[in-house]
Amino acid sequence: MGVYREEVIGGFKFIEYRPLEVEKPSMLLFSLPDAGLVSSISASHLVNTLNLEEAGDIESPELAHIVVVREGFPRSPLRIYVGKNLAVVFTDVSIPPAVQVMLASSVVDYARLRGFDYIVSLSGIPSPNRLDLEELKTYYVASNKKLAEIAERGGAITLKQGILVGAYATLIRESVRKGFSSLLLLTECFMEFPDPEAAARGLQVFSRIANISIDTGKLLEEAELIKVKMRELMRQTTGVMRQMRKDMEYSPFLYA
């Protein structure tokens, strides 16, 4: 694919194959493998069901040794898909913790420079009692009040207290620091097992927030096969989460 524009931000090269024409209000959905692979399953489902087009990729010297092959052609493991008012940053591989943190910060800058209205991340919040939870809740963490109101109208609940560990923690912290609008939607999930049910619940909330119709029926129908298919990515992601001490999220928050 030809290069329309490339720009280095925070050590990552953001490459666009064509002008990113995204309707307003524009959203950038940032997805990295995390708890229950909720983020990866959600993003993959969005790309497939909304027929989003591959419009760019992100290169990093840290990931230069990995290539994803699609229909005989090499692709970056970090790709950008675009359609309607949405752009999705997606990856098929687990990313080392240090790279995740730098990437999250760079994505905030990229979204700001490209004029996106806000960043959304659909991820999971590990629940030790997940096996017995019949109705999953989706919590939100917002970088400003306006987004908090939008999240609540969509059915998300305020995450009143807790600890976040990983790329999404960096994303929201950097967004606040840089004055950019970002929203984390965190659905109750298994920590170490892929959780398509949690992804479906998160997508339903996102659907109301973004005003996009998203059919999650197929996702729930194929949930078991998705779990088998994503088993290895989950195993690798669990290793990464262990390195970044993701288990700290289970700790009760000490209000000081």
Partner: protein, 145 residues
């Protein structure tokens, strides 16, 4: 224990013996850890085969050990769990054979038919103090101490 018959040399040799024992134990631990890692790497290469290892997690909740094993697409009527000493074995048949070649050319001809897992437990389980259930494609084994 230090007795009045022990001279400075005896005490010195005892200290040396103790230090040697500690070194030996540390080396044994390191070797066991290295072997475990090697076995893990070996397993990581074989992602899909006729029999696959399911994802699992083990938690110590004080009065009990809880093990969760993710067995999506398993036939819940054909899940077997058994124990030998402090090792737990799980075998679960899938509802039908899964042709992994459809997902990746790399696995052409590979069909998964069952899950197999063995876990070394920190305690020896007693049948009357163990509960097992399968819910949402997850096997839960609770072993009370």
């Amino acid at each position: 224990m230090v007795t009045s018959d022990e001279g400075p040399l005896d005490r010195l040799f005892k200290r040396i013996e103790k230090a040697m024992r500690e070194i030996e134990e540390a080396v044994t631990r390191e070797v066991e850890r290295a072997i475990k890692e090697l076995k893990h790497e070996e397993r990581e290469v074989r992602v899909f085969a006729e029999s696959i290892e399911p994802l699992y997690t083990m938690r110590d909740l004080g009065d009990r050990i809880v093990i969760y094993v993710d067995i999506p697409y398993a036939d819940t009527e054909k899940v077997n769990v058994w124990f030998e000493d402090n090792v737990m074995y799980v075998k679960a048949k899938l509802r039908s054979r899964l042709d992994i070649g459809k997902w990746s050319e790399r696995y052409r001809g590979v069909e998964v038919e069952e899950y197999n897992l063995s876990i070394t437990l920190p305690i020896r389980p007693r049948p009357e103090k163990t509960t097992i259930r399968v819910k949402r494609g997850v096997l839960e084994v609770v072993i009370y101490k």
